[in-house]
Amino acid sequence: MIFYASVIFLLIILVEIVPFFKEKNKKDGIKASIVLLFAMIPAYLFFSNIKVYSPMYLMYELFMWLGWHYPALG
């Protein structure tokens, strides 16, 4: 899966990131790269079987710990 993910990310870089730098729009290119990193890092961690927690999952755990929630079923 890491191989396929790498291929996809490479294609995205070629199609979307590289044109920014070709047009000498470095600023937008860096911003787009940062967004892509937000996708790449969790992807590689996930496919390497390392647990990754999303912001909403962390919010869920926080709210459950604080007791700020509706009653669960059952």
């Binding site: 044109p19 999303s54 912001p55 869920y60 509706y70 009653p71």
Partner: protein, 369 residues
């Protein structure tokens, strides 16, 4: 600042709202186990609450016909405050996009393509959504009226042909539910199908003449969508009764039982087709909104250049959001109603209030000057 040109009509927005809400048909399994036989009442009460809570959203559209939600935040909360509030919205849009993407993947795997890995099905879906995003809002919303028509026809058809399976005594006793559970069901029904129209605050500058009759567009579109959800809830409760809360996709089970003269059966595929159309529409719309949100917050001039990146982000996060489907379901009924209410209704209300106060203060200081 993103330049959004007026590319779609009010009718397209109306049908887009209807399709968007209808696509949450799959998510009735979140609140029907909580509400039980009173779920249909909770759906009606949630629409009544929505009618009131959505007034700030409509007023924001009327006061800022040329500005999207993030631009409104910048004007009202200032540059830094606006970015913080916009970041909250962005996380919300991204989360919802990925959760809905996960839902369609799970649905396809459970019902239609049981052996195909979700990695493959979601990949192609995301590719299509990104492609549609690059082409613009008019392409994303082009077939909204067609999808709405098809889904209404299929829903009415299934209602008529499963009438012999219905037992309306399953709705009795009425409101035999603890008040907190009814409030919970109403809250979930308010947030999950209805409150998500906050997404449309990012695209209203692209709607022609939106400052006129924006309220009508929102109310009629949401009513049409909600009607379908109500039909689904009534249909499922009348056929499955108490057993309904056991199933992950109750509507699919009820449609499996339809048999028209022993000749026409296995009509659940129609529901699968309808849901795929609607969810594809919803997800591509959400990916579009997430893309322009990222472009707006990061001040990227051309949002089309980050369409595939956003799609990749949504794709990966659909696997990461909640690993356990049980936790996802529990989140949906316990914590999500509170967080979503804050984002979908309280924040826009706060934005409007601050804007009104600022306007009054500005007028007052102009008068004294």
């Amino acid at each position: 600042m993103l330049k959004q040109s007026r590319t779609i009509s009010k009718m397209q927005m109306l049908f887009s709202i209807a399709c968007f809400i209808q696509a949450s048909m799959l998510l009735t399994s979140f609140f029907t186990p909580v509400g039980g036989s009173s779920s249909w009442l909770a759906v009606i009460s949630s629409y009544l609450v929505f009618a009131v809570f959505t007034i700030p959203l409509i007023m924001l559209i009327k006061n800022f016909p040329d500005k999207n939600l993030f631009q409104i935040n910048a004007i009202v909360f200032g540059k830094v405050g606006g970015k913080i509030v916009s970041a909250i919205y962005l996380i919300f849009f991204w989360t919802l996009s990925s959760l809905n993407t996960k839902d369609i993947g799970v649905f396809l795997q459970q019902t239609v393509m049981t052996k195909t890995p979700t990695y493959v099905t979601i990949f192609f879906l995301m590719f299509l959504c990104a492609w549609a995003t690059r082409k613009g809002l008019s392409v994303v919303t082009r077939y909204a009226s067609f999808f709405f028509g098809v889904s209404m026809i299929i829903m009415i058809f299934s209602f008529i042909f499963s009438y012999n399976l219905m037992d309306f005594s399953y709705f009795l006793p009425i409101l035999d539910i603890e008040p907190i559970r009814f409030i919970q069901t109403t809250n979930v029904s308010l947030n999950i199908p209805l409150g998500e129209i906050i997404f449309f605050l990012m695209i209203h500058p692209e709607v022609r003449d939106i400052n006129k009759n924006s309220g009508k567009v929102v109310y009629i579109g949401s009513f049409m969508g909600m009607l379908n959800i109500l039909l689904v809830v009534i249909h499922d409760t009348a056929i499955l009764g108490e057993a309904g809360k056991l199933f992950t996709i109750p509507t699919f089970e009820t449609l499996r039982m339809i048999s028209i003269g022993d000749v026409l059966s296995r009509v659940e595929i129609l529901f699968a087709i309808m849901l795929m159309l609607l969810l594809f529409f919803k997800i591509s719309f959400m990916v579009y909104v997430t893309t322009i949100s990222i472009a707006e917050i990061l001040e990227i001039k051309d949002y089309r250049r980050i369409a595939f990146i956003t799609a990749a982000l949504v794709y990966i996060s659909s696997y990461i959001q909640f690993n356990d489907s049980y936790i996802h379901a529990e989140f949906g009924i316990t914590v999500a109603p509170l967080i979503w209410t804050f984002i979908e209704f309280f924040l826009p209300f706060l934005t409007l209030m601050i804007f009104i106060v600022k306007q009054k203060y500005k007028k007052g200081s102009e008068q004294t000057a």
